[in-house]
Symmetry: D3
Subunit: 175 residues, 6 copies
């Protein structure tokens, strides 16, 4: 069934400027986007510091501030803990209808292609994906991380003391 909507997949730990650029790039090509927040059930590790509720709040704040809420729907998808063959179906059930997928994650590309979906990479996004780790490291080390995220995201992270949380998690296990 044709929905004229594309899926944009990520963990968004946190949602940063690279994600925002990628989203805008997709919106130039597609009428509507489902932004799917993955690994929903995880939080409080250096790799996944924020709860999905905190990530939802950051993303909705940016969508409003950037006037994108009319063309972007946000969904939330739990991880299947290595039951990879169920994951695409889970994304489909937990998201509004979509018929095309944008992601640079190789496993997601493989899984969606095997299920017959059209999958596209995001040209400059791979570099940005790496920023997730870099930004979390900056937070852990007290560096200047704020310029890499939207002001509304920075505000929320500071309100929930997310930078202190990440610093503690980084000392625990920096991987």
């Amino acid at each position: 069934m044709s929905c004229r909507r594309a899926l944009f997949l990520g963990r968004f730990q946190p949602f940063h400027n690279g994600h925002l650029e990628a989203l805008k790039w997709i919106l130039e090509r597609e009428p509507e986007v489902v932004l799917a927040i993955g690994s929903a059930q995880y939080s409080h590790s250096f790799r996944n510091p924020f709860t999905v509720g905190e990530r939802l709040e950051m993303i909705q704040a940016v969508l409003r501030a950037e006037n994108l809420a009319d063309r972007v729907m946000v969904s939330v998808v739990p991880d299947t803990d290595n039951e990879h063959s169920l994951w695409v179906r889970l994304v489909v059930s937990w998201s509004p209808c979509f018929d095309k997928v944008y992601t640079n994650d190789p496993l997601s590309q493989l899984l969606f292609r095997e299920e017959g979906f059209q999958v596209e990479g995001i040209p400059f996004h791979e570099r940005e994906v790496l920023e997730g780790t870099r930004i979390r490291k900056l937070m852990a080390e007290g560096g200047d991380w704020e310029k890499y995220v939207h002001p509304r995201v920075a505000e929320i992270i500071k309100r929930i003391r997310g930078d202190a949380r990440i610093a503690e998690l980084y000392r625990l296990s920096p991987a």
Copy 2:
């Protein structure tokens, strides 16, 4: 922590006019609302016919059409399968920050109150809650269900043939 945001809880199977009225009534009292879709993992039963992705799509369509997207965030919360003592914490982790709860469901009221939350009922909403079952029965029996939901919801239900699905599920087990 004060967030100046209220939670509005439901399964929204489907999102109908009673829900929309209740949401507007809450928005007269609160600056912002988190609308939390519960029992996220269930679908394809008469009680829970729609996937959470389908419910998300219906609700986002109504929020846009009614110009409510600026004051309402939508979250999604799985059921804990009778591990009731974890449920409030799950709602908190999966939703943007909130500090007050609107619901007429007695178990939700009990659980949130035990965790120290302020909980309020929705005066005329109880009757509306019943409409969920009534509307699904109308669908199952080919009655005139459309007038009880927003036109955008009716459109989505018809596109995914939700009324035929419900008719089949009703024959299976009408409880």
Copy 3:
């Protein structure tokens, strides 16, 4: 992808003559069959008395005795506990490739059709499906159940004292 193989779904509690007839009827129409044992994780209730290992053993014994092993593969599929939207994908991942489904179960029919599978009923099988309960009741009440199952099935049930188990489970909750 075309596999020229059909799926035959059931819980097979136990595998009885109605199932065997249905299987033979399908084998007249299809070159090969995947016999999928559902609700794999459940046992020791009146509705699901036998473990999936016990059911596997009964079915393999009949396939050998009836010289059907060359055209029938047996798979095993756990239940998804009401996460119905994942179930078809689970059957696909846990079974050898198939492209057509034979079942009289209305929910299975609905779920497979929504995923685009061709689904066929088994004409005289519905009556037989009911025999599952009837045979279990006969066992519970010490009736003459043996004539409704293959001699190899009867042998296994007696060896594991399955009839005594069912009698106890029936007293517990006969539903």
Copy 4:
């Protein structure tokens, strides 16, 4: 391996005088008892109102008050949600070593006997088992429930307002 210890199984919702009598009766016959609290993960339903932590606290308080702590160890066992064939092994892994089982629950008797355990009923206990429901109903209806439980249990239930919780849960679904 011989442990000279017997298992006493229950949900203990709440631990009442019938349970205490049964425990003392077993202690006349056995050198040591493992008291296993089942359905550990459930709470906040009329059938299972108390968390396992609350039940642990009640039982430990009684064991101390009655000077039984030296001969009774308390273990905690989650339910397997109908995967009955795993349940005995779960009880074994979650409990100190035991080699005999006391219970009047027919399903537990069946499952432990199939695994080769010696299982004994508790003569007058069946009647007492029923008291669980009766005591919860008395709480729900404001009756005189306190005389059916140990004073230390009554104290804890009143401190956590367990009677009010049960009254609300009973109105919700009295089954």
Copy 5:
């Protein structure tokens, strides 16, 4: 209870000539074998590339081609995610009756021995076990992997493009 049947355990990713040799070696010693496919729920990683349905299909094809189907039953067992104390019981419940275990996996040996099973190693099999990784590496690097598996296995892997899948998974994480 004596079943005169031995268990042969493996993940069979994929089923290769080392496994076939081991199976034949066991069949020289035992009247019947239950071949149990472990880690059933996992797929799409370099270590576990194939779904359990794909592995079932490969193994059944070899059993038929080699005329072994009359003496081998295939079962399927999910992993318990580190709840190791339940695993033996899970294998027992999900497999036809067996009373002896053949495996070179040290953890399986430990777990089955603790539950009182007779466990035997397979003399030359350890080397073969290593072939699983070696064959997957050959696939990932476009080497000549086909000679290490049965022609029917090679056929299925090529039909489902398993070698391309493994090449992608290897690039993702070659561990």
Copy 6:
């Protein structure tokens, strides 16, 4: 609600003299202690060799021998498999009421502090925590581990051949 009880958290693999010293140190400061055994569902790995039942038995034996049973209650808490935001609530539901937490584990400290609990470290305990690994290594290598645990713990470990189990698990994966 004030309970005048402190929580002492650990995996206790096994319960050793460092744990006992820490417990006595806490009992000098607090009227009562809940000793919570974490990672309850895991066993049979080098890091978590003992089942929770075995750990319960060791700890109860020491509490009795040291006359501490009157001031210590033992609870059991499963791991949440990286769903860290639910873990504190799980500890609360599975344990008798407590209002203060003693632990040197940095993640536990972070999680309990975020939920508003008072958390204290145990001065000399960090060194002791390391003894868990050291004692397991001594067992694996046939060293003199017995002097690091209470005689009652040594007795139980030898009865269940825990040292041989650990030696095998260490060869498997010494991490």
